[in-house]
């Protein structure tokens, strides 16, 4: 890449020209002139349409096919231009260009399908080759146009990175039409699309023409892609089809909701992206739209309640805490049991000179001081422990809780020993695996199964010493 450098000092100057509040307001409310309004409306609609059909493309695992489609459209644009010019029509007429783009885009996807049907190549290799070769052909055609001296290829290269500024009223109407078509078709075909996305084999056995449903789906993808070429560009249109649905997936487990969320994210990205691009100089709309959608994606990825990573880590952490807590209580109980502790209201662990402080417990071996502190705090919070400066005291409540845990554990051990044929030497660790996730109903069932009622704690089935060597999972 050719870089010529005028003054290095300007590079570190990262300040922007901050637009005034009123300018922001007028763009966002579509009052910044007819053209700006059209750009914003057009890209918003495009975002909605791509967000909807993208959901199905994603669930059908055809997302990258759309990328191949978009890249393959480039030679179509160039050839349509050349043919148009040769025939004396305006080479830049949009319908002509879009026809060329559609033709080559579809041709590209057909080649991908044919190549991957040969079984020597995985589909993604076919996609990669088709995508880059067709794009290469496009570059060649563009260089021919450039060299022909008409100087008109400038209009075409907008299609690569997208150029929202070039949007006109008819383009907005075209986008509106495409968006409306996508919404209507997706509503009518929701059930069919859902069927093939979820269980293609069943669909075929039930007599549905899967290829026909796929064809309709791909047609919508093609329409949205081609319409989006002008504003978002060949290189980035894939993002509008993939990013909003992928983001929406984090929020919901229901398809209609997912479609709605995806459409909303797509629409808002289009709206915000186009507005930002209008407000700041040299922020190409296509890229800004994608970045806004990307922000939505990463927010969803991190913070969505059901499937986000933060929620995932919190859940994992809570489970770990509960497991350690269970182990801790059980170990305390078992120590008491061994030292013939009785069920007094307040039990002392490590009486007299034999002070057992929590960090010495085997459950705690290898854990960090912070984890020890945290667990102690949590157990204290629940009223299971009271801490004096020299020893740790188990309260009545704590004792009962511990008894319950031990009962649980031993019931499982017994069940596994008698019903699941797991050897005695292994029941302890096997019971460890299951006991923490038990619901009260299951424990009740277990008791019935083992004809054991009440809250009595059964005897341990194995020497307790082994329990102290237990590691924190």
């Amino acid at each position: 890449m050719s870089l010529t450098l005028s003054s290095p000092s300007s590079l570190v100057d990262l300040s922007f020209q901050v637009p005034t509040i009123s300018a922001i307001f007028s763009v966002l409310t579509l009052h910044a002139g007819y053209n700006a309004a059209i750009v914003v409306v057009g890209t918003t609609l495009l975002g909605v349409a791509a967000g909807i059909i993208g959901v199905f493309a994603l669930l059908r695992e055809r997302a990258l096919m759309a990328d191949a489609l978009a890249h393959s459209a480039l030679p179509g644009l160039g050839i349509a231009f050349l043919v148009g010019t040769a025939l004396g029509i305006d080479g830049k007429s949009l319908p002509l260009l879009l026809c060329g783009a559609t033709l080559f885009g579809v041709l590209g996807t057909v080649v991908v399908q044919l190549l991957s049907r040969l079984r020597r190549l995985h589909e993604d290799a076919a996609i990669g080759v088709v995508l880059s070769s067709f794009f290469g052909l496009g570059i060649v055609v563009m260089s021919i146009i450039q060299n022909s001296g008409s100087g008109e290829e400038g209009g075409l290269s907008h299609f690569i990175y997208g150029q929202t500024a070039a949007l006109q009223a008819r383009d907005a109407f075209l986008t509106l039409g495409a968006a409306a078509l996508t919404v209507i078709a997706s509503t009518l075909l929701l059930k069919e699309f859902r069927l093939v996305c979820f269980d293609e084999e069943f669909a075929r056995s039930d007599g549905w023409r899967v290829s026909r449903i796929d064809l309709m789906m791909m047609t919508l993808v093609v329409i949205v892609t081609v319409i989006g070429l002008q504003s978002v560009g060949i290189l980035l249109i894939i993002a509008l089809l993939v990013v909003p649905p992928a983001a929406a997936r984090f929020w919901t487990e229901r398809l209609p909701v997912m479609i709605g969320v995806s459409a909303a994210i797509g629409g808002v990205s289009g709206y915000v992206g186009a507005s930002l691009s209008a407000l700041f100089p040299r922020f190409p709309a296509g890229a800004v739209i994608v970045v806004v959608a990307g922000v939505f994606f990463f927010l969803s990825f991190a913070f969505a309640p059901a499937r986000g990573v933060v929620a995932l880590f919190v859940r994992r952490f809570l489970l770990r805490t509960r497991v350690t807590e269970d182990h801790l209580l059980r170990e305390l109980y078992e120590r008491l049991e061994q030292s013939n502790g009785d069920g007094d209201s307040l039990l002392r662990i490590g009486e007299g000179s034999r002070v057992v402080s929590l960090p010495e417990l085997s459950t705690y071996r290898g854990s960090t001081p912070f984890a020890r502190w945290l667990h102690r705090m949590l157990l204290q919070q629940k009223g299971y422990l009271t801490l004096t400066d020299r020893s740790t005291l188990l309260t009545e409540r704590g004792y009962l809780a511990a008894a319950r845990k031990v009962q649980n554990h031993r019931l499982w051990e017994e069940y596994l020993l008698t019903h699941a044929d797991i050897p005695a030497s292994h029941v302890d660790s096997s019971a460890d695996l299951v006991e923490h996730t038990l619901s009260p109903e299951v424990v009740e069932k277990l008791k019935r199964k083992l004809r054991q009622r009440g809250t009595a704690v059964p005897e341990s089935l194995h020497p307790l010493g082994s329990a102290f060597e237990r590691e924190v999972p």
């Binding site: 300007s10 590079l11 040969l118 993604d124 996609i127 990669g128 080759v129 880059s132 290469g136």
Partner: protein, 440 residues
Amino acid sequence: MIDFLSIDLPPLLAALFAAISCALLGNYLVLRKISLMGDAISHSVLPGVVVAFLLSGSRAGGVMFLGAAIAGILSALLIEGIRRFGKVESGASMGVVFSLFFAVGIIAMEQAAARSVDLDADCLLHGQLESIFWYPPLELSRFFSWSTLALIPSEVVIAFLTMLLTIGFLKLFSKELLLSSFDPELSTSLGFSSTLLYQLLMVVVACAVVASFRIVGSILVISMLISPAASARFYTERMKTQLVMSVFFAAITVFCGYTAGAFGPLLFGYEHSVSIAGMIAVSGGVLLVFSSLLAPQRGVLARKWRQRRLALAVRSDDILALLYRTEEQGGHLSRSKLLAHFFLPKRTAHVLRQLLAEGLIEEHGVQLSLTPSGKARAEQCVRSHRLWESYLVETAAVDRDHVHPMAERLEHFNTEELEGALEQALGELPTKDPHGKEIP
């Protein structure tokens, strides 16, 4: 000559070196079914280059290289993280990450341009192959002096070094890479962590992509990565051969692409050359299509031809066997009866003509009969058929009524080995088949 040395040779060499490193690495991408990681990395490299440039203010190769490599690795990690923790299908997580990186790159580039830095967006797409020049010395004796070597364009040098790096990496890790591509779990259990190898591979791919995208542009480099390896898949099953072929194909695509781009248009009386990088990518695609159609054994045409030949062989066996059985029962067969017996009479007529020409069948008036040599062939066939019938009934527990059509299928594939095994499986050789007919 001087023209060639200064105008054509440097870009050719640069493209060749770049194509070779890409093609070698591409083999592993294709075999691991992660071809699109190459795509993702080449898209992601853009922000790395631009941001490194914006931050450092220098266009030194090293800094930009570092930025690109970091971006490439970051994107690989991010794709994996999103796939694993977000449960997003891998294609989609690639799409999300690389398009986002690319978008950031475009914005950063525009911003750089705003600061009166000439970062040309188009160069990103077609590279700058055409602008690689070398001024060779006029006398031969000065060719190998330091001052001449220092004038070699940096693109050529970097591409060459990357090629050495790639070859070195692949040599060093050849068995580990092969193992982890084929069986990642075994590889990890043997102590070659497949994730580590994967990351290493991605680093080297990122390096190769960075070195090449200055030459052919960021989209077209994908073709260099995948096409040669994908084409080689149609010729061989062996890794070594595959690697060698991919290098060979890389060279072919570069030469064809260069010739077509630089000189092709002149042949049509067109005075300008067209984008060479584009042509290299196109020739990669054309190569793959050609290979898939014409490769000697795995190509589509070869397969079709083989199937046809096989069908003819089967039909000729069937005709001979039919004649044999008819004659065995003392009957005769006319041409028209024979044709009516089989599906696709045209094929039967064709095969019959061949058999007559080979002297396996004679025609007396309208009656067809086997010649002695034809009889021997037919015996072979009928024997194979009846042996299979016996085997199916005795060993495979197939119902007596159903063995005939099944044996009809199997009889054509008896090799000597298989026949020996068949005889062995039957123990004492039966003289009659399950229908009570004699085994010749």
